[in-house]
C-alpha cells in the first residue's frame, strides 16, 4: 500500500491549496468572540458554555469538511479525468480509494488538533484569575482532560462520515452523494431509536426491519458524549474503546465497499 500514502499526501496538499483550513480562522474568531461575550454576561457559567459551544463547533466544522470534501474525493478525479493519467501509473484502484480516504483523514486530524489547541487556550484564559475555591465548585475543571475523549469521539465520527461520503462518491455524482451522506448522517442520529422500535410497534416484520436497519446504518449518537463531558460525568475508557472498534469496523466495511464498486467501473 505504498502508493496509497503518496495519494494520501497529494490529497492532503490539495485540501491545503483549496483553502480548507480557512475554516480554522472562522472557528477561532467564533470562539474568541463567544468567550468575550459570554464572559461579560454570565459569571461562573462561562467555562461550561464555552466547552459546549466549542465542541459543537468542532463537530459541525469537521462535518462540513468530511461531507463536502469527502463527496468530491473520488468523483472529482473521475469527472475531470485526472484519473486517466493517474491510473496509468503503478497505482491500483483500491490504493487510490484508500489513499484518498487517508488524505482526508489527515486533513481532518490537523483541523481537529488545531481546534483542540484553540479550545484549551481559550479555556485557560477564562479560568485564569478565578479563585480556586470557585473553580472547585465547577462540574469539571476548566482544562479537563476528559474533553479529549469527547474530541476523539468527534474525530471518529468524522472518520465514519467521511467513509460514508467516500462510499457514495465512488460511484455516484457529488450532488447525489451529498444527499445520501447527509441523509445517512441524519438517520444515524436517531438510529438508536430503531432498536427500541418494538416498544411502539408490535408487527414482527416491522420490528425485524427496524432491527435490520439499526445494524446496517451507523449509530452516530454513540459518538456524542459532549454533554456528559461538559457536565463532568464520567465517560469510561471502555466505552470510548468500544465505540472506536465500532467505528473502525464500519469504516473498514465502507472503504472495502467503495474499493469494490470502484474496481470494475468504466471511466467515461
Amino acid at each position: 500500500m505504498h502508493a496509497a500514502s503518496f495519494v494520501a499526501l497529494a490529497t492532503f496538499r490539495e485540501s491545503v491549496r483549496d483553502r480548507v483550513f480557512y475554516n480554522l480562522v472562522l472557528f477561532a474568531v467564533l470562539l474568541v468572540a463567544a468567550s468575550l461575550l459570554i464572559g461579560q454576561l454570565t459569571a461562573g457559567q462561562d467555562v461550561k458554555i464555552i466547552k459546549d459551544l466549542s465542541l459543537a463547533a468542532t463537530s459541525l466544522f469537521g462535518l462540513c469538511i468530511a461531507i463536502f470534501v469527502g463527496i468530491g474525493l473520488v468523483s472529482k478525479e473521475v469527472d475531470r479525468r485526472s484519473v486517466y493519467p493517474l491510473l496509468a501509473k503503478p497505482v491500483r484502484r483500491s490504493e487510490l480509494i484508500v489513499g484518498k480516504y487517508l488524505g482526508l483523514l489527515l486533513t481532518l486530524l490537523v483541523n481537529v488538533a488545531v481546534m483542540t489547541a484553540a479550545i484549551y487556550l481559550v479555556l485557560f484564559y477564562l479560568a485564569r484569575g478565578v479563585p480556586p475555591n470557585i473553580q472547585q465548585a465547577w462540574d469539571a475543571p476548566a482544562l479537563d482532560p476528559a474533553l479529549l475523549k469527547a474530541i476523539a469521539l468527534i474525530y471518529l465520527e468524522l472518520a465514519t462520515v467521511t467513509a460514508v461520503a467516500l462510499f457514495f462518491s465512488s460511484y455516484s455524482s457529488p450532488l447525489l452523494s451529498a444527499i445520501f451522506t447527509l441523509g445517512i448522517y441524519v438517520i444515524g442520529q436517531f438510529n438508536a431509536d430503531l432498536k427500541q422500535f418494538d416498544r411502539i410497534v408490535s408487527a414482527p416484520a416491522a420490528v425485524a426491519l427496524a432491527k435490520g436497519l439499526y445494524y446496517l446504518l451507523p449509530d452516530f449518537a454513540r459518538f456524542d458524549v459532549k454533554l456528559a463531558v461538559v457536565h463532568g460525568q464520567p465517560v469510561p475508557v471502555a466505552y470510548v474503546a468500544a465505540t472506536a472498534a465500532y467505528a473502525l469496523l464500519y469504516i473498514a466495511a465502507l472503504v472495502c465497499g467503495a474499493a469494490a464498486l470502484f474496481a470494475r467501473r468504466d471511466f467515461k
Partner: protein, 323 residues
C-alpha cells in the same frame, strides 16, 4: 518475437440511451499486433473508436469481450504500468499543482528515488520546452502547454511502450514539429510508440505501420508502403529528347501527356498499360528516360476510400435489414 501490444477480438459495447439502455458497439473485434520498436499509427475518423481502444489498453474501461495484452501481460497489470507511458486525449491534471509538482508526484508513484527524480523531472520539462512556467499552477496553462505536460508525464518513467492519444492536438505548427521530432527520437531509442491521429501527414512521416479504424472496425492494417502499393493507380513516365509527333502517337494509350518544357514530356499511364513496352518504343525513337514512377494513393486517399467503403457496407446492411 513477443508483441509489444496485442489485441484479440477486442470488443466494447457501451450502454446508451437514457431510459431503455441498448448496447452501442464502439469497438468491434479488433485484433492488432504491434512489434517492439514499431511506430504504430492508429488512424480513423472522429468516433471511430481510437480513444476507446486506448482506454481499454489502459484498463480505464473493461472490454465486453476479447483481450488486450501489453508486453505479454494482460492490460491493467501493475508491473507493466511501470514500463509504459500514456498521454490521454485532451489531458487534464490538477489545477492546484505546478507542472513540476505534478511530475514529482507521478515520479514518486513510479518509485523514482529523490535526487534522480528531480533530475529527470527537470530534464523532461526542458525537453518539452516548458521553461519558467513549470512553477506555475496548471490552472494557468494553455491547452498546448497542458498537452506538453501530458507528453512529459508520459515519458517520465523512461517507458518501453508509449501510448499517445492524439499527441499533436492543440499544438501550434512549431509544437507539432517538436513532437514529430520527439517521436522520431523515441523511435531511434528503440521504444514502441502507439499513437492515434486523424492527421495523416504525420502518420506518413512517422509510422512504420498503421491501422485504419472505421466505425469500430479495422478497415486496413499494414506498413504504409504495403497499404499504398495495394493501390498503384498508374505510372508517370518522364522522357527527354523526343519529337512531338512521336509522343502524339501515344495519345490513345496514355491517360495524359503534358509537355514540361522543350523536348521533355510527362506521360501518365493507366494501370492497364505496360510502361516497359512504351518506354522501349520511345527509346527506340531516340528518347532518353528521366524517370518512371508508380502513382500511388496517399494515405489520405486510402483513408477516404476506406471510410466510404465501410459507410456503404453499413448502408447496404441497413437496407437488407429493412427489406
Amino acid at each position: 518475437m513477443q508483441a509489444a501490444i496485442r489485441t484479440r477480438d477486442l470488443t466494447k459495447d457501451f450502454a446508451v440511451g437514457f431510459w431503455r439502455k441498448r448496447p452501442y458497439r464502439a469497438l468491434d473485434r479488433l485484433s492488432i499486433d504491434v512489434a517492439p520498436g514499431d511506430v504504430f499509427g492508429f488512424l480513423g475518423p472522429n468516433g471511430a473508436g481510437k480513444t476507446t481502444t486506448l482506454k481499454l489498453l489502459m484498463q480505464l474501461i473493461f472490454p465486453s469481450s476479447g483481450e488486450a495484452e501489453i508486453l505479454g501481460r494482460p492490460a491493467g497489470d501493475i508491473a507493466v504500468r511501470r514500463r509504459i507511458g500514456y498521454l490521454p486525449e485532451n489531458p487534464y491534471f490538477y489545477d492546484h499543482l505546478t507542472a513540476e509538482e505534478l511530475l514529482d508526484y507521478y515520479g514518486r508513484l513510479f518509485r523514482i528515488a529523490g535526487g534522480e527524480r528531480g533530475r529527470r523531472v527537470s530534464a523532461i520539462l526542458d525537453r518539452l520546452g516548458i521553461g519558467a512556467e513549470r512553477r506555475l499552477q496548471l490552472r494557468r496553462f494553455s491547452k498546448g502547454m497542458l498537452q506538453r505536460v501530458g507528453l512529459a508525464q508520459a515519458l517520465l518513467n523512461d517507458p518501453e511502450v508509449i501510448f499517445l492519444d492524439e499527441p499533436m492536438s492543440g499544438l501550434d505548427p512549431l509544437g507539432r514539429r517538436d513532437v514529430r521530432n520527439l517521436i522520431l527520437e523515441l523511435r531511434d531509442q528503440g521504444r514502441t510508440i502507439f499513437f492515434s491521429s486523424h492527421i495523416l501527414s504525420d502518420a506518413e512521416v512517422l509510422c512504420s505501420r498503421v491501422a485504419i479504424l472505421v466505425k469500430g472496425q479495422l478497415a486496413a492494417q499494414g506498413t504504409i508502403a504495403d497499404l499504398q502499393a495495394f493501390h498503384v493507380r498508374g505510372w508517370e513516365l518522364i522522357v527527354h529528347g523526343v519529337e512531338d509527333s512521336i509522343v502524339q502517337r501515344l495519345r490513345g494509350r496514355a491517360r495524359r501527356i503534358t509537355r514540361i518544357e522543350g523536348a521533355r514530356y510527362a506521360i501518365e499511364l493507366g494501370t492497364e498499360s505496360r510502361p516497359e513496352q512504351i518506354l522501349t518504343e520511345l527509346i527506340a525513337d531516340g528518347a532518353s528516360l528521366v524517370s518512371l514512377n508508380p502513382l500511388r494513393d496517399t494515405l489520405e486517399d486510402l483513408f477516404v476510400r476506406r471510410v466510404a467503403e465501410v459507410g456503404e457496407g453499413a448502408r447496404a446492411e441497413g437496407g437488407h435489414a429493412r427489406g
